[in-house]
Symmetry: C2
């Protein structure tokens, strides 16, 4: 009696523990030498001032923050975007005064803000019918340029605004240069992938694969000469990607380079060693290097490198300690020879082989790597081994791997997942369910409808059920995203939509859908439910109000994780 409830108490206990973890990252160095940090110290993600000596944090923003920006060194002003639409991701820009802790709302129409540049001037990209660059001045906004394509802006200096995006093809990325109102799209070689441009002195530093594997280059914005930045230590590491380029207070070049799910920080080409894992940001002031660090056992922390001193490191609650026994990294060969880099997270609460969940990341342009992941921990805590695969389309393994998905969603990347699942059955998994959020939810629906015998059950959060309807409901940036993904083959929408294959569903399915989701909206998911119901298919569903695609608060996290864990406990 009451088994189900015992499980719910266990699940509640785990989530209580997970919710207590104050995941923290560093976003710059502000006035007084304090670190600007984004943290989940209280119930939402907000900006804090972090003292690099004492580790003391002080909250700066009253409300939550949707998208922060990196401020200039020692700035007393900070810009960030905040959702003003209960999760629909219609944002406004805010200016925060660090000293007064006062927020000023910029006068603008709410829209989806996707990147912010805060330098001598402030710009952001906002998306409605088009993707538009706005200049922010005197508390107001002014249009600079508009594009149909998907892009981001990354830096500004002395009249030059830079960024990068998919301007010429879904399989290449070009630099965007805007000076004195004139727009230039630059590539050193047609078809190459050029990213992360920043302005150092009067030059543009960026990463590019135009000579093979990704390397760093300097572009003269006047002459358009491109010169390679040769750094022996970076070459020796031979990274697959550069995930972060920035500059120190004295124009030191900061590069974070990535390989096999881990990354390293280089300052002017010299590696600044730290613990093994992942670095997502780094800043340099007077020889000190502050970075955001995480690995599979360490929640997102702020570390002073060189000294290897944690300035802020969240404690892992007792009930979660030791639930992950081991993390195995393995490249698994897929049907066409593509290697699928996979993290196998073994729960210490189960035998091997045991119950396993294939947890598929979103994006698809994102990555599962050596980091502390809340969803993974929640699953491991319930005794599931977790399989996290970087299917084609994932970042972190070079542009070739990332771009292989273009034009073929619910195709090759799904086969990658199926191949990985098959190769681990028996060895790691006695039985396996599949779960994911966003693109991971889409993969779950694809897997259950196109390979109905492969998984014991599935949990699809904020999933894509029908590309046709979703495209109609999308704003410019997400229309652009879908066109990129399909490489313009919009005629494939129906063929690549799970709703088309609903009749194949056999395994128990749990749908979790935020009501205000403006990326993967509720409407097509409701239609999917109707179709499943008409076909007599069994499904569970949870529609979450006042929540959009992004998990903004602890409650959002609980609203998604709770039904997932309860469902898995029932079905596995």
């Amino acid at each position: 009696m009451g088994e189900k409830i015992m499980r719910i108490r266990r699940i509640a206990e785990i989530m209580e523990a997970l919710a207590q973890i104050p995941h923290t990252s560093v976003l710059g160095v502000i006035e007084g030498g304090k670190l600007l940090s984004l943290s989940l110290v209280q119930r939402d993600k907000a900006l804090y001032s972090l003292d690099p000596e004492s580790g003391k944090m002080e909250r700066l923003t009253k409300g939550f923050v949707s998208l922060p920006s990196i401020p200039p060194y020692f700035s007393s002003e900070i810009y960030f975007a905040r959702d003003v639409s209960s999760g629909k991701e219609l944002h406004k820009l805010y200016k925060l005064d660090v000293n007064k802790k006062e927020e000023e709302e910029i006068e603008m129409e709410p829209m989806r803000i996707t990147s912010i540049v805060h330098s001598d001037k402030v710009f952001f990209v906002g998306s409605k019918e088009k993707n538009t660059i706005y200049l922010v001045e005197g508390g107001k906004v002014e249009e600079v340029a508009s594009f149909h394509e998907v892009f981001s802006i990354t830096d500004y200096s002395q009249g030059l605004l830079v960024g990068s995006g998919f301007f010429k093809s879904p399989r290449s990325s070009e630099l965007l240069l805007i000076k004195d109102g004139s727009v230039e799209i630059f590539t050193p070689k047609e078809g190459s992938v050029n990213e992360n441009p920043i302005i150092v002195g009067d030059k543009i530093v960026f990463s590019s694969n135009f000579e093979g594997s990704p390397k760093l280059y300097v572009l003269d914005p006047e002459t358009k000469d491109v010169e390679r930045l040769e750094y022996e230590e970076i070459d020796r590491f031979s990274p697959y990607e550069f995930s972060f380029l920035w500059k120190g207070k004295d124009q030191e070049l900061i590069a974070i380079a990535k390989k096999d799910g881990r990354s390293r920080v280089f300052v002017d080409g010299k590696e600044i060693k730290g613990p093994l894992g992942n670095y997502s940001t780094a800043f340099v002031v007077e020889g000190k290097v502050y970075a955001t660090f995480t690995n599979s056992f360490t929640p997102s922390s702020v570390i002073e490198l060189k000294e290897n001193r944690f300035i802020f490191k969240p404690e892992v609650p007792e009930v979660l300690k030791g639930v992950v026994k081991e993390v195995i990294f393995r490249k698994i060969r897929s049907f066409d020879g593509t290697e699928v880099p996979t993290f196998i997270v073994l729960s210490s609460l189960s035998e091997v082989p045991g119950k396993a969940v294939m947890l598929v990341h979103g994006g698809p342009w994102a990555e599962d790597d050596d980091r502390f992941d809340v969803m993974t921990y929640s699953l491991a805590s319930m005794g599931y081994h977790v399989i996290r695969s970087n299917y084609r389309g994932s970042t972190g393994y070079g542009p070739e791997h990332t771009l292989k998905i273009m034009g073929d969603p619910c195709g090759g990347e799904l086969k990658d997942l199926i191949e990985v699942a098959r190769s681990l059955k028996g060895e790691i998994a006695k039985e396996m369910c599949i779960a994911g959020y966003s693109y991971g939810g889409y993969m779950t629906l694809c897997a259950l409808t196109k390979y109905p015998d492969e998984f014991k059950c599935g949990v699809a959060g904020a999933s894509v059920a029908d590309w046709e309807e979703m495209y109609e409901l999308s704003d410019a940036i997400f229309k652009g995203f879908i066109e990129l993904l399909f490489a313009g083959r919009n005629d494939l929408f129906k063929e690549r939509s799970p709703i088309t294959y609903a009749e194949n569903l056999k395994a128990p399915l749990c749908l979790i859908q935020p009501q205000n989701d403006s990326r993967t909206p509720l409407k097509p998911v409701l239609k999917f439910m109707e179709k499943l119901n008409e076909l007599g298919k069994t499904f569970e569903a949870h529609i979450i109000p006042n929540m959009g695609h992004a998990l903004r608060t602890v409650d959002d996290m609980v609203n998604v994780l709770m039904p997932m864990l309860v469902f898995l406990e029932k079905e596995m």
Copy 2:
């Protein structure tokens, strides 16, 4: 941090406690003088043999039981119906051998079984396109008669099968007599309400209001003479209704009579005193009276009356003890003078006035009374005062009150609830939400869309959103039910459907819907969600798989209560 999760742990703790309560009722006396009981001892409702001396229970059925029947005294065979459709309420009839504990499935098409008579012969009413009486013989079934109207069968003896139903009008009830294949609909007076016929000797005993308040009568099936059974003690009690008529082993007449939320047991007109509360069944063997008893503080128990000895009385778990401070019964005058008998359950965890939930019962032909109610306890345990009103349409207060709803759903009965809510605001409730399941879910939707400022929030479980579509999806018995409720005014379907007023919704709403519900099906609720979504209305929703309208198991209970309690905690 983690407040939400603390609440979830508290909710899980409460549900664990509630799930441990083995609610038990007695359904007859079987071979060896054991009591046949229906109990939730394990995770589902099943039949048990209960020793009247030791109180020891022994499980008789392997699986769960949807609808049991009363067997003849000292029978070794028991008939019951079981859902064979994951909650869709398509049943099959089963014969249970008490000694061998073996179940035999009767050869039949699955259908909704609504009443079973087990005497010298076995009959049941099954509903598909029509409501049909079947005779069960030799493991097979044979059609006896079919009706469009809603009715039930209650007894059989020596070739005569009796029952009662709404044969002539939605505002009266007639006796059904079937002998030698000939069907007769009998009423002592046109428009009167005649119910509960049983056969005692060669006469029919029944209750009727044809001379005013409900009394007991004897009908001679040959001459059709009707004679009043004058029992002084019953007359002195002057009940509003008879809720149970049956006979003892030696043909004693057992009557359970009801008034103001409590009932009394009479044997041959003499009251058999017991604790104050409610008796739902009673059986007499050799001077001993066994009954099912409950009150607001006692879960459904089996008691030997006269001696007032509990044979089986479920323990109330520690965490639930004392959460109900007081139960107040009050008749509250509605807009047209109708008295609305209301139970006000005060939580000991809150001040008065405090947070309150108006918990609306289903039916509408059902009743909130002095009984241990799991939903009420779950709310009181979370610190809510609970208001339970017997709006017009409810049973327990005489046919006039019950029949007042006919032809006017989402009308007078809704006003009753609104009047009660208004009269208790300030005195009992600082703020009030409304919640209900089935017809109570319908009332919740009606209240939130027709009186959008009245309640702070609402939880609608297994609700009616659209009568038009629901009617189309219904089988004969539920088409008949809807026609009764509307008194044939099917033209009012649209006007009385919450979907028509969806645009009025203001308060936060939580929809909880079993997927396999064949009474209030998912399809119209999904359409309601679509409409709310199009109108930009905020709602939460939970669709529960493998579950129908009826709560069959502990897991079903948890699946409904859990989201309700979490939602209320969030909104109040």
